[in-house]
Symmetry: D3
Subunit: 312 residues, 6 copies
């Protein structure tokens, strides 16, 4: 049985060492919001299934290989020989600001459809949690339908349904996102968003209240280095970020989600869920790569050591 099902596009990712216009050394890995969440959960010992489409090419093989390595179940993933695996290029531009070039138009990942999702709920299978993001919804009609199908069936099957807004301005406008995401609100148990993303989901001046009123059971708001706040029947709970040296902030939000869902699966209360979330988020921030440094369950305690110490 799967603890968590998530779906989306995972791309081959080149990370430049310096400015792209100078050429030079780069490093190839994978990137995708949902698969980062999946890896984070798998490292914490949960059973996760990632559903998406890759091309029949070596970049696709890299995606599949990396997810298998991390113990993420890709039995539901599909290989599509008609389109290439998408690419993303990361360039460290200035300070810790990263610039991104996408080569994902027409990618295999954007060919995800609701049909791909059917088997995930076939034969009475019910993941405990279904996690979706706004990114998948922005990839095209097929992926959007896939998300709708997953959310609908998950709700019907009694899975907890979570959405991370994850607004990408290069993929769609806030208005397009609003049109696509708002109709799903009634089916959502959990909404995770950055401060500035709440407006995508509601025009209400008090967005959190509006979302809770709309039936969402818990709204978790990320504030970057300012930590995070959870709103729900437990009231409002805030946790500051863990103090760590900032190495690479890309992926922090996904790591946070992995930590949060891990808390949910462990049956932790809201405070403990937030604690886990900010801890996993801190690992993402204090290590290089989107997912490479995410913690195993044993690693969680490492942040309690003195900074600058050696575990020996």
């Amino acid at each position: 049985m799967t603890d968590v099902l998530t779906l989306g596009e995972t791309m081959a990712a080149f990370r430049m060492a310096g400015p792209m216009r100078l050429g030079g050394p780069a490093h190839l890995s994978i990137a995708g919001s949902e698969s980062t969440v999946a890896i984070g959960l798998a490292r914490l010992g949960h059973r996760v299934s990632w559903l998406g489409v890759t091309g029949a090419d070596e970049p696709g093989e890299l995606v599949r290989r990396s997810l298998r390595a991390e113990g993420v179940d890709i039995a539901l993933a599909r290989v599509d020989a008609q389109a290439p695996t998408g690419l993303i290029l990361f360039e460290p531009r200035v300070g810790d600001l990263t610039r991104v070039v996408y080569h994902r138009t027409g990618s295999a990942g954007s060919r995800l459809t609701a049909d791909d999702v059917h088997p995930a709920f076939a034969d009475g299978r019910t993941p405990r949690i279904v996690h979706v993001t706004g990114i998948t919804c922005a990839l095209g009609d097929g992926p959007y339908e896939a998300v709708r199908y997953a959310v609908g069936h998950a709700r019907a099957a009694g899975s907890l349904v979570g959405l991370d807004v994850n607004h990408r301005t290069r993929l769609w406008s806030a208005r397009q996102a609003a049109e696509a995401l708002r109709p799903m609100l009634p089916s959502l148990d959990l909404v995770i968003a950055s401060d500035d993303e709440l407006a995508v989901l509601t025009d209400d001046p008090d967005p959190v209240a509006a979302l809770l009123a709309a039936g969402v059971r818990e709204v978790v708001v990320k504030h970057g280095a300012g930590g995070a706040t959870s709103h729900g029947e437990h009231g409002t709970l805030h946790r500051p970020a863990r103090r760590v040296p900032v190495v690479d902030t890309v992926g922090a939000g996904d790591a946070f989600v992995a930590g949060y869902l891990s808390g949910v699966l462990d049956g932790a209360d809201a405070a403990a869920r937030l604690d886990r979330a900010v801890t996993v988020g801190a690992f993402a921030v204090a290590t290089r790569g989107d997912w490479e440094g995410l913690p195993s369950r044993d690693d969680l305690a490492l942040l309690d050591h003195d900074p600058g110490s050696a575990v020996r």
Copy 2:
């Protein structure tokens, strides 16, 4: 005044250090058959103009920067903000066999049109040589029309017109290539092709004779490590390849073309043209990268040193 005008697509090129499915280190540079020819010519001291389209992105900036660095004139090149610069991924697969992944569908480079070529012949400008390849013709209607325009106007203006067949099976079939390239034969002075590419240009069992009969003045056939042969009014001349350690064969054909055209510009006879061509081809083979190791005019003599020696 420009010695040589060439036109085509130049991409940002990631060269993996190992198998792509394992991820890991890569190196970013640029690749494009026509720009390799242009760089080869510029290093040998000729004035070359490269005409093509790049995206308004950092990969495009890399292309422009690299060509400027090499002294290639890009005044005629255009930046198109509607499409990304194409990408090419090189993977050293086994021995010296390289595998390629393209991300060039819908690229800025494929948005080249005949309009882009107008200025090259405006105000009575006449490049001494116009060099085109089958690759550009395969990129779409626009690029094909651009090549046709260039070939037509060059012919009219009295420029020498050369075509490198450069058949790419991932871009189009031999039949499609035949349909596109054969109509240009009457306008060509020089044809350069690998042994197996001649059949693209004619169905005649003696393709060289057929091409010469069709009005081509010189047909140069490349045989890889077997050297090359020139056919023309001077009869048939063969040159063996220079004996060098094989480091990276990608780009050998383009280097060969640069050497050949350099000989033409210098007014060398067929034998000397072939000599220069196989020498520059050998530099490509015995150095890493498509164009990075191409020789300056002084460097040409280096291959006359004892192998394994140091110039000091």
Copy 3:
């Protein structure tokens, strides 16, 4: 159902870029004869199960992660918190000669016992092939008993049983190897050995004949760059090595075995089995790393391309 079961020790492997006494850059990966065979088979599309013990440490996590990535089933592998994962250090010493330092004494991998093998045959499970090597037998009593148990039960269950002699002089003497391996001969269907390893299995002046007489159905002898020979009811068949540039010969023998067993699983005849074996062996030789460059089924055809060409 598993196609192939294999068992042994896989270590974390540091590969120096230069002489070890100068320190400097190294690269961490994994190494183990049996897991290289397993990866080779998995890349060719077979279902393989690797059985072994790793430590509860990050080097062990690297081993498990790498095997999972390659699609090797490690459900039967055990984590032993009482001992560290073994290490192997590779140093490119001179030309293509590699020097090895082991840190495997008392390693988790050497704590393998027959008990670890029980589940592989429980509940009527029968792998089609069981592959063992002399290395595992050299690691101590426990691993030796594990091999004996696997060979015995495989024979009883009707699996094909193969042994690669793989003599390691740093682990034991030829005499010790002889004492350990000869008693297993009656249970072996297939023996793979280098020319100089046959004497480990028999004192007979015609070792191949003696092995066949002893009931082994097929004896395959590897001759390095000289190719390989198969002896059996089909008579004697020789295949030369494929001509490839030599990049890194470590792991050639294991790649050869993977190719051979793949042929067996495909029901190929002896000639086709040898062909596949020398082809996979050539991939090992012409790529860097023990297993990193092994071919997928599609890749097998790559060696038929012209050397120095690009697949594009």
Copy 4:
């Protein structure tokens, strides 16, 4: 028409990854105060001409190639076959303190003479700005005369003349610098200096006032992380430094100058000039290399993003 003319020595620069006495990895690029200013201006879209001498060697080719790549006009630069291109070795010594080894004595760059500058003002050419530094003055009589010639003719032609004191204690003493630079004061419109460099230009206890009294129209004082102050007819204006993570401070002053002169060329007022200067200076500080990370005009806005964010 050239917007800015600058002149000086640009060297090939090796940047060690670690302590020099341990040997090991290094990276080759170019370094030179005036060419960094030139690159900074070119990236911001201005037409800049760099005038200097390089050797007829590959390090010189690197200098020329890099400047051409960046769009800096080097038509006025000279190649001198009698002397080698100078070298500079950078060693990251402790924290962000860099140690420098020069190999520039007798270099081609130090063979610059006033004759080299003649063509810059021939035929009525008048750069809008002429930028010089104390470093060029310290390189020998020839370079000093070249600076004097440039400053004199620029003044006569009505160009704005700027001097960056840029005192290098390894090249000359403060007293020698004073003797060389003070006579030029009457021809200077703009003086840029660090706090501790003002004393090179005047012995007056209130150096800024003294310089303004001496006819300098604007005195800009850099305070490192403390920002910068501009003094002139607009009074005294201070700008704090932009808050960025410090990656590599070498080149900050030159970047600052590029930003400042860019403001001048854009006709910006003193406040806007300082803003541009501290912004470009911050790019230098928050990216690796002297000039590699300098901003294009579009990039200027990047520092307004939240730190740690990704532009996607």
Copy 5:
């Protein structure tokens, strides 16, 4: 004559660039608390002798080579062909927290015995200082006896005897350490410890007072980024840490000790000793590697430069 004698185990050290479970780039160097102290002292111009055992293997050759390079006298060191040189693997886990894997059980270094120490005191040789650490005591009976022998003879010969507690929880418990170290207290002149290590030496609620009462002449307590305090007949002196960017804190304590002992050898007073200690400690913290960045005598003044400046 030797200024300082120290004894212990030095290992070959692999330092991963990223998470160990992902494999990838690493760097080989050496590590050992006592040899770091020795190198620190040698760089400051003192004559130091390091006594320990290495294997007859290339990792051992690396240890010997590195110490010779640094001018540490290894005439007393022994090569033991019966055991391998120990290994240590460093993994940068999260932020500046380092995780360590040891492969030192049964290592050559742990085969040190009192017999190895005899020659250090033979023929009336008397080092001015003998420096020992708790780590050597934890390696087994032989190393412990070696330390006892050295401490005993040093005391008798009038050398100053110093102990750095250096408690390693992976090697032994605090209780085991207490049992081993406390009996040596009467022979110690100088004790150096972190705040939390004092309890290893005494159960007294005021450990410093207790140690001084027990005859130790000086107790120096390190507080990491909080600096250090010296207690002795000069009373109590505190020095804050030098403010430097934190790059790699491993080895700070050993660098501190080197600085302190250097002060002792120079005859400096307690304040100057502490100054030198925190300065050398700051070099360790602000450079990569345990010992690679330690200062020469000239370098000591570098920390007085402005941060971010270049010495040129």
Copy 6:
């Protein structure tokens, strides 16, 4: 007592990974013909003393550190604060042809004088062998006098005196070399030269006979991949080169000399001396770097292994 004394200049050496004009990665080490010989001898277990001058800079510290590491005695070497340590830049240009840029004019190394050599023969010290090269003689009057002094005193003291012609056309002409070297012939016991260097020493059409007639006891001629020949009272002996993969030929001649002198010190006959010489030369050719891969005494046997095998 010293077995071998040698004198010359050793430089800090940057080795580019690719073409110098592209900038990019390089590696810093040391290079110098005589110190390569010294390192080769030290690795083979002989006591060698290197005499030369380095600057008071970090490149000089690198030279001293590297020689100490290798066990070469540098007690006679001098540090000269008036001049920088020389630099040499290696660029792999095409195939295995290396191009060199020198920055050694006015270097510390060229400030060697006869005075520096006095202590080497003071107090009756007599090295068994004194080894000099033509390179040192080409560096200026001081170094030439130093060589003359060493050769003269060595002869007087009964040391064996060897000269490696080592003609460097970038340093002086063949005629200048002849004038400098020929006067030393009467003092030489051993001359080592490449085929084309013999003409530097004599105009005789049979140079070997002429040299032997002039009193040289043994003339050893290197033929690169063709091996080497020894002429002397033992007649004429030829040895082919060992067959190894060619990795980097720079330094082969010096390695050869080290092997030869090692044979002399071991009292080997001419055949065994040549055998050792071609073996050590082969190590240089089949490993990267001038001296990094030279063999220890145990390593000598490695070339007897099968190519492509692993020692484990």
